[in-house]
Assembly symmetry: C2
Homo-oligomer: 341 residues x 2
């Protein structure tokens, strides 16, 4: 076995293993009479059909975090592969249903599953992906003791429950005008950060780490997940693609209650007045983004991202990450909040 | 502890225990900020809101079968309660999503969840119910060994995967004109019988029965599930409520590819000719039901129901059911296929 010396080498050794594990997990939906169901899933995962390829697959950030944490906690990351497939499938199940709920025609530049096969089949394909996630997780018991597998299953299901609670709030907020920054945090914690916290917790759990250290790794993931979402919100208004017009979807036009928008509303100034007059058109986006910035929303949001990143790095240090994987976790944390797209 | 002597007494002792277990399972979705999500679930389960009550809850046949099998396999049915809640929640998750997929405004005479709270929230409420089912199942480990719990979790997830495969087929068949009786069986096995087979298998598994006997109990559930569906198809055309006009939904008007309809189509006679001319109106239902009967569809379907019931009873006998619960399983099997609604 070669000793990996660079972060890039370690990540590049994990990514194909994740992809292979995902393929095994998803193949359970295949069969003579359900080939098309299987095809829906492989399409959504970016393996098949229109514009398939690495760009269509996303970054696989959740399974990577899980495997890296397992290794950084002193475990063998290969033993955690079933769990890494599981978290990626849970994430993708939620995307399939999100796209229906948000009426989104595109995901990563490709036609969404529901646009392709209709709402009824897309709901069902999401359900299949959800089940495949949990079937994947149970394969942990090829290498892990039964009580750890049960703990892992419960942790993942709890994350799924949080996900649905967060999604309930997100949908509810869309139609409400009384949402504040205080309402924002429980929503993003449930909808985004909880699953990322579960990735780092599961990685530690599978390496059979003591409870205290598992909790630290979970705290790391939770802060990282929140930082990630806040950064996402920042890019949703001032991101490269948004302002240059490469991406058509600004959070300003979709009406999403993101952190900078909630901050802007709390200022009761010009942005607030414009928002209350009704939905925002694409041509207004550059000017309104500038207005929000001048009212302090950008620096507030950046400040929150920085604070959460600092908390993540502190929790990571407390969890005493080992070896190259520990180093990579630190690098990823810094990179995620410095990203521009 | 009283000794229960009649079937009715045994069932009446199980039903409140199932309801209590369901309430505990569903309460996990509750919380300060997600009260409405919890309310969607309790509404769907018939506990709250419009016309709540026993009529709105369904027969809880799946959890009953599970508990009865556990007892008939020599186990303590109380230990199986978490699994009984799990199968009922899986069933109800599938109903919530089915109602969206079928565009159904009513379920058991009440407004469907999606009609009440919109499609987006209903998809999410179904997802929450799905997760709660699996969280309920994992509570088995308060009384059962870890390896049994993992086996039970895998068995239930496999049933869920089958459910989505069956639903894929059902949705696919709706739009196709080349479906035959040969296509019917794998669809209903996956969509309906697999979950009922899982109820009886889990009941046996939790009583720590040997594998051979577990398989027999599973075979019993599978045949029973198929018989149940065939009988449902029969009632969907010649049922009491349908022909007297008490129920407005005949399978003839919904265009469902049920067994009598597929038989009728295979005869290439007058029914086939009428079917090919386009959708059937409510006022044509009595005449077309008579026509289908005269072309042999009713006696064919009844014959299949009888054959499957016989197979179920044989499998039940092979699994050597014990005590009063064993007797009740036999009675339920006979009752299910003699029911009129």
């Amino acid at each position: 076995m070669n000793t990996l010396t660079s972060s890039e080498e370690l990540i590049q050794s994990m990514l194909p293993a994740i992809e292979a594990e995902l393929e095994v997990a998803v193949s359970l939906a295949n069969g003579n009479i359900t080939k098309t169901l299987h095809q829906m899933l492989t399409y959504h995962l970016g393996w098949e059909g229109e514009a398939a390829g690495p760009e269509a697959r996303g970054k696989r950030i959740r399974p990577l975090l899980l495997l890296l944490t397992c290794s950084a906690a002193g475990g063998n990351w290969q033993a955690a592969l079933p769990a890494s497939a599981a978290v990626e499938l849970v994430h993708n199940f939620s995307l399939i249903h999100d796209d229906i709920q948000d009426n989104s025609p595109l995901r990563r530049g490709r036609t969404t599953l529901w646009k392709h096969w209709g709402i009824a089949q897309a709901i069902n394909a999401g359900d299949a992906m959800f089940t495949l996630a949990h079937l994947a997780l149970l394969r942990l018991n090829e290498h892990s003791p039964a009580d750890i597998v049960i703990k892992a299953a419960r942790t993942l299901q709890q994350a799924c429950l949080n996900l649905t609670r967060g999604q309930y709030l997100d949908l509810d907020y869309e139609t409400r005008n009384d949402i504040t920054i205080d309402d924002y945090w429980p929503m993003v914690e449930a909808k985004t950060a909880s699953l990322i916290a579960t990735c780092t917790e599961l990685g530690a759990l599978i390496s059979v780490t003591d409870e205290e250290r598992c909790s630290e790794f979970r705290r790391f993931g939770l802060s990282l997940g929140l930082a990630f979402q806040v950064q996402d919100d920042l890019l949703g208004i001032w991101g490269d693609g948004i302002l240059t017009g490469k991406s058509t979807e600004s959070d300003l036009t979709s009406g999403k209650k993101s952190l900078p928008i909630l901050f802007g509303l709390s200022q009761n100034g010009s942005f607030y007045n414009r928002w209350m007059q009704g939905s925002i058109k694409a041509e207004e986006v550059p000017e309104l983004a500038k207005l929000l910035d001048s009212e302090g929303a950008r620096s507030f949001t950046q400040g929150q991202a920085n604070r959460l990143t600092k908390e993540a790095l502190q929790a990571l240090e407390n969890s005493k990450p080992e070896g190259l994987a520990g180093q990579v976790l630190k690098e990823i944390t810094l990179k995620l909040v410095q990203r521009e797209s």
